[in-house]
Symmetry: C2
Subunit: 222 residues, 2 copies
DNA sequence: CGAAACACTTTGATTAGTCAAGAAAATGCG
DNA sequence: CGCATTTTCTTGACTAATCAAAGTGTTTCG
């Protein structure tokens, strides 16, 4: 049984190696940055994870998850996302505040409880931010989405939001850009690097910057 | 912020010092026994808790909780019991299995989430085993209950059950002796040390031993 | 090429929690 | 009362996780 510290390292490595597919090497510096620990701490931990068979580590060349490590990391992410979904749908907490809570709970919930939660929720496939929930065996099946920033004029539905800073999420909520809401691209201005949109049932147009628009992943309506 | 290990020590000390009232001294041996650690470990920890102001420790004379320690221990018990109530009432887990789960979760749930849970449940004052839930300020208000073993013939309602071994709880469930169910004492046999009762809506009489009957706390009906 | 900059590793130390085993009180039995 | 048993305490050692600071290998670029 890995400790919750180890689980956090695995999770960080998975998300830094491009989430799904690739057995991409991850540099220790990135891990240190992500977890706010010193590089030396990461070196020590990577040797340990290597010895335990969670990752493959080559000095000064980074780490990559082993199959075992990847599987376990996916489980942790599954827990995290199901818990977020539960806290929003069942408990009624604010979706912007739920990330931190799940960060703790993901290490404390038993498999029995997790299965029950999954069942109560009707086996959802995305969390409240639209991130896909890995299946029990660790596989992630997610349809391809387009950043709003790359979309032509037309009607779309927000599926996923990148980032979990509460303030940003609150703002999205206010703008009616939560996952599940629809958004219409009125026009694009390549020079100003903005999009003009109407969101949800709003009539009033608003401009959003390309960098923000690239954090909203959508599918075309119909 | 105490660690979860410290919280477990505080909880153990509170429950060993006679739960409410008394500033009774607790011997380190009892604590070691309760937590399945060696006496030496407890000694070390008690010095630490004393230094932090959670308990008063006198060598070879045991410890007693300070006001601060007692308050904090009550909070932890509050968490534990509210979580149990939540897991049974909202999530639908089996009341016999819920203790262990809560044992982990009590250290991971934020105050915000706990308040929300309390609200969802309608501010309950007992957990699924009938143990009183301390209020947010740590006070425990519980009416006096009588062990079934001390009751004359008549009708009663089970309020609280002493013990948390799943097998015992399953058995109670089966016998319809869960908290909230009513039970009728038909007769007592002092020599055999048994009671003859009918439980819940059952018609058939059954005998239970005094020692078991003393683990069922009841109030008279009406 | 070689020196500086950067990224990573090593070393030595710290804190929290724990155990095993031996020492010292306290208790209890004859 | 006095020795044996039990209980409690002390000591030394270990694991997990971490940091600071010094050291080493790589890359880059003037």
């Amino acid at each position: 049984m890995p400790t919750s510290t180890v689980e956090n390292y695995l999770k960080a490595i998975l998300s830094l190696s491009g989430d799904e597919k690739s057995t991409q090497r991850v540099s220790l510096g990135e891990i240190a940055e992500r977890l706010s620990v010193t590089p030396g701490t990461v070196t020590t931990m990577m040797k340990h994870l290597d010895a335990k068979g969670w990752v493959g580590y080559e000095a000064r060349r980074g780490v990559r998850l082993t199959a075992k490590g990847r599987r376990h990391a996916s489980q942790v992410i599954r827990r995290h996302r199901l818990i977020e979904r539960f806290l929003v749908d069942v408990v009624g907490l604010d979706w912007a505040a739920v990330h931190e809570e799940a960060e703790e709970l993901e290490h404390a919930v038993s498999d029995r409880l997790l299965d029950r939660i999954d069942e109560m929720l009707g086996y959802p496939d995305r969390d409240p931010h639209g991130d896909p929930i890995p299946s029990a065996d660790g596989a992630i099946t997610a349809q391809a989405l387009t950043p709003l920033a790359d979309c032509p004029a037309g009607a779309f539905t927000v599926v996923q939001v990148l980032g979990d800073e509460p303030a940003f999420l609150e703002w999205l909520e206010q703008q009616r850009l939560r996952p599940g809401m629809s958004v219409r691209v009125q026009s694009r201005d390549e020079f100003a690097q903005t999009l003009t949109i109407t969101a949800g049932d709003n009539k009033t147009k608003q401009a959003i910057g390309m960098s923000t628009a690239s954090r909203l992943l959508v599918t075309p309506n119909e």
